[in-house]
């Protein structure tokens, strides 16, 4: 019903006059639909929280979103002393928004606090690899990990921001949410919890930061739950920039003078996940030939190009192309071949067809397109569209034979944050292949980058050869903005307001 109304309404919305950009005040007005429960980055797990954290706080290391190279941010250099000890030299002369100087004490306090289970950081995987943090000198720290953890560099360049120790010790996460203090290119001018956040350019931002000093003076972030309302705000001139716009609507608004729409591939991948366990609910999926038939039955190139669009790419392996260790080298490629799919089904004893429950929780249109392809080779897939939590419950209760999954890797650019989640022996691993699990473990724990790459390559090759999944496509994001705003889109779905300018 709402989809129909949206289809009718967007052309009506477009009949309005275009918005005037907020160029004069050199500020950007942005809205997001989800409210972070606490904007302290250690105590939320939503995209809006990631966006805010990158602007208000800094990390020790910075990962260039274009080249993937790591550069020093609050740290200037780093080295592994042994498999479990990472030493970092810290930058001098950096000041937090409250005027205090950044030192090793801040790193020790922040990471020690966040990694203590009793402090209940929201995403434990971000911090539970830390065993101990110690200051060697006021500008040198050592991070000891519980086991060899090569992805530490990526975590230190993503979710693990640095807080000012004395302030954080005094106010805790609650106080940090109410009056955030970081060292980033923007400082928080006001935070009306649950409603809005106003960021002001940090005039004292250190000049050697890989994040350049902000060009705009102010960023206003509002939390507007309804995406139609967000679009209306853009059209009425109340907002300059929004994201997560449905593809068709972004294209329509982008065609109106005064606005622009852009799309970009994200780190989120879509794939079909088979339960191949000996006691799994669908006996047919224990047969590799059936799983291969599914791979041949789905025209993912057409799906990616015609339906998904927006810079999306078809996948060969279940990981994001830009992640360290992700490769399709040596992977089995399944051409779209319905005849072969039928032959494989026949060979497996399903000549008269197969009927399965097909679980999904998002990407409904794409799931329906996949179901159509399956139908064409004699597979009747009955769509069971559930909320995420309900689907996950069913999966973990071993009641799901096949599901349409998506995974965003928590924006961590390392395969250890994606493929092992579904094939590494955890509760979402429903193939439980010991050989693959061992290879992924080697990739996750070796500190030799080449050894990691080899292990991941072999694991990904086996996953595709044994057809435990049908890798589909990378999920794009669609952005709408005033035509006068210069901005770029990145796979980590984090708009960089510090680099945005008005034309």
């Amino acid at each position: 019903m709402r989809r129909t109304i949206r289809a009718l309404l967007v052309p009506l919305l477009l009949a309005g006059s275009p918005a005037l950009a907020d160029k004069a005040s050199n500020s950007i007005r942005f809205a997001y639909d989800q409210v972070p429960e606490n904007i302290d980055p250690y105590f939320n797990n939503v995209r809006a929280g990631v966006i805010i954290s990158q602007h208000v706080w800094d990390t020790l290391i910075y990962r260039d979103p274009t080249s993937g190279a790591y550069r020093g941010q609050l740290a200037t250099a780093w080295r592994y002393l042994d498999d479990k000890t990472l030493e970092l030299d810290l930058r001098t002369g950096v000041k937090f928004h409250d005027g205090t100087e950044f030192t090793a004490e801040d790193v020790v306090f922040t990471l020690t606090y966040a990694s203590k289970p009793e402090n209940k950081a929201t995403t434990q995987a971000n911090v539970n690899w830390i065993a101990k943090v110690e200051a060697v000198t006021p500008h040198k720290v050592r991070i000891h990990t519980k086991q060899a953890f090569p992805a530490a560099i990526d975590y230190l360049s993503g979710p693990l921001v640095m807080h000012p120790a004395k302030y954080y010790e005094r106010v805790g996460p609650k106080g940090m949410n109410e009056k955030p203090v970081g060292s980033g290119p923007f400082r928080v001018a006001s935070h009306v919890i649950g409603k809005s956040l106003t960021l002001e350019r940090n005039p004292d931002y250190f000049k050697d930061s890989p994040k350049p000093a902000a060009k705009v003076g102010k960023v206003e972030i509002r939390f507007i739950p309804d995406r139609q309302t967000q679009m209306a705000e853009v059209m009425a001139g109340g907002l300059d920039f929004i994201m997560n716009v449905p593809k068709d609507q972004a294209e329509q608004i982008g065609a109106v003078p005064g606005f622009q729409a852009r799309s970009g591939e994200t780190m989120r991948i879509a794939f079909l996940h088979f339960n191949a366990l000996p006691d799994g609910p669908v006996e047919a999926f224990r047969d590799e030939r059936v799983r291969r038939a599914f791979n041949h039955a789905i025209n993912k190139e057409a799906l990616t190009k015609e339906l998904v669009g927006g810079g999306s790419r078809a996948l060969v392996t279940p990981c994001f192309y830009g992640q360290f260790g992700c490769t399709d080298e040596g992977a089995t490629r399944y051409a779209y071949d319905p005849a072969k799919a039928k032959a494989l089904l026949q060979e497996a004893g399903h000549a008269s067809g197969l009927s399965v429950d097909f679980y999904a929780y998002r990407e409904r249109q794409q799931a329906e397109a996949v179901i159509n392809d399956l139908q064409a080779v004699g597979i009747k897939a009955n769509l069971r569209y559930l909320q995420y939590a309900a689907m996950r419950d069913q999966m973990r209760a071993n009641k799901v034979g096949i599901s349409f999954q998506t995974w965003g890797s928590n924006s961590v650019s390392d395969v250890s944050a994606s493929t092992p989640v579904y094939f590494g022996g955890g509760s979402d691993d429903v193939s439980r292949d010991g050989e693959i699990q061992a290879l992924l473990r080697t990739g996750d724990t070796s500190v030799d980058p080449e050894a990691r790459k080899v292990a991941y390559r072999k694991a990904l090759a086996l996953i595709t050869e044994r057809a435990y999944t049908v890798p589909l496509y990378t999920v794009p994001n669609h952005y709408v903005a005033s035509a006068n705003l210069n901005f770029a889109v990145y796979p980590d779905e984090t708009p960089r307001f510090w680099e945005m300018t008005w034309k």
Binding site: G16, T123, Q124, A125, K174, R222, A236, D393, W407
Partner: protein
Amino acid sequence: MTGFVLRRLALALAVGIAVSMLSFALVRLTGDVATAIAGEGARDEDIQLVRQTYGLDRPILVQYLAWLGELLRGELGTSYFFKSPVSDLVLSKLPVTLILGLSSLLFALVIAVPLGVLAALRPDSAVDRLALGIAVTGQAMPNFFLALLLIMLFSITLRWLPVSGSGTWQHYVMPTVALGYYVAPAFMRLIRAGMIETLQSDFIRTARAKGLSRSRVILRHGLRNALTPVVALAVVQLGYLLGGSVVIETVFALDGLGYLAYQSITHKDLPVMQVVVLMLSVIYVLLTLFADVLNAYLDPRLRAAM
């Protein structure tokens, strides 16, 4: 009368308990609460931590009784999501919802009373048909759709009113119209029917025979009598407007109780959700009771029947 009020108060309590049990159970039908709170990217250890932190690893009956026990001690609990006391959250959001509910009610009456009277004065005329058309449109159109049409006209095309937020009185104009228009037809129909019946009464004929002016007969004698049931209906509709503001507050990003209810459902924030649902249901039942008492006060025939 006292017995009637006491019986209805007991009923309000029973409804409150039933509603709280139902909402407690319903929210769990959509999947594991801890999984939903932990979010999509959460791993097992995150979900386990959530489960332990909020006591969600206890049997559901134990959880419900614990919540009920705290409620009876006057403890509304702490929001899982905002980490603030639920009482503070609810009290801070209530004024927005009350303003919206009352202004919507006022708007509904302002359009319903004149249209109802005009329709009654000339039944089956063009004016009556127009009033009927307005009423049917109001009831047939979902309020969120009307909200979007209003945004299109007044915010995007004319640029007269802000799309969303709650900072100024202008922010309340479109939500008031979108919410109020939906309840106006009920008033309009009641006034029309009441006026037609009243205008055919003996006392109206007597008033006319006494030579009173047409406007005096209609407004002083006719409308005054026809309005009696409207007062009670208004009280009931206020309950509907307070509860029905969830969609409108969400569309216009008005930071009221309805928006809080939406957020609590989205984030599986059980303590907030339970209190909001309980509060709205009890308010509704109490307003219905108040409407009955008011009706009895205004109409002695009903008083005798109680």
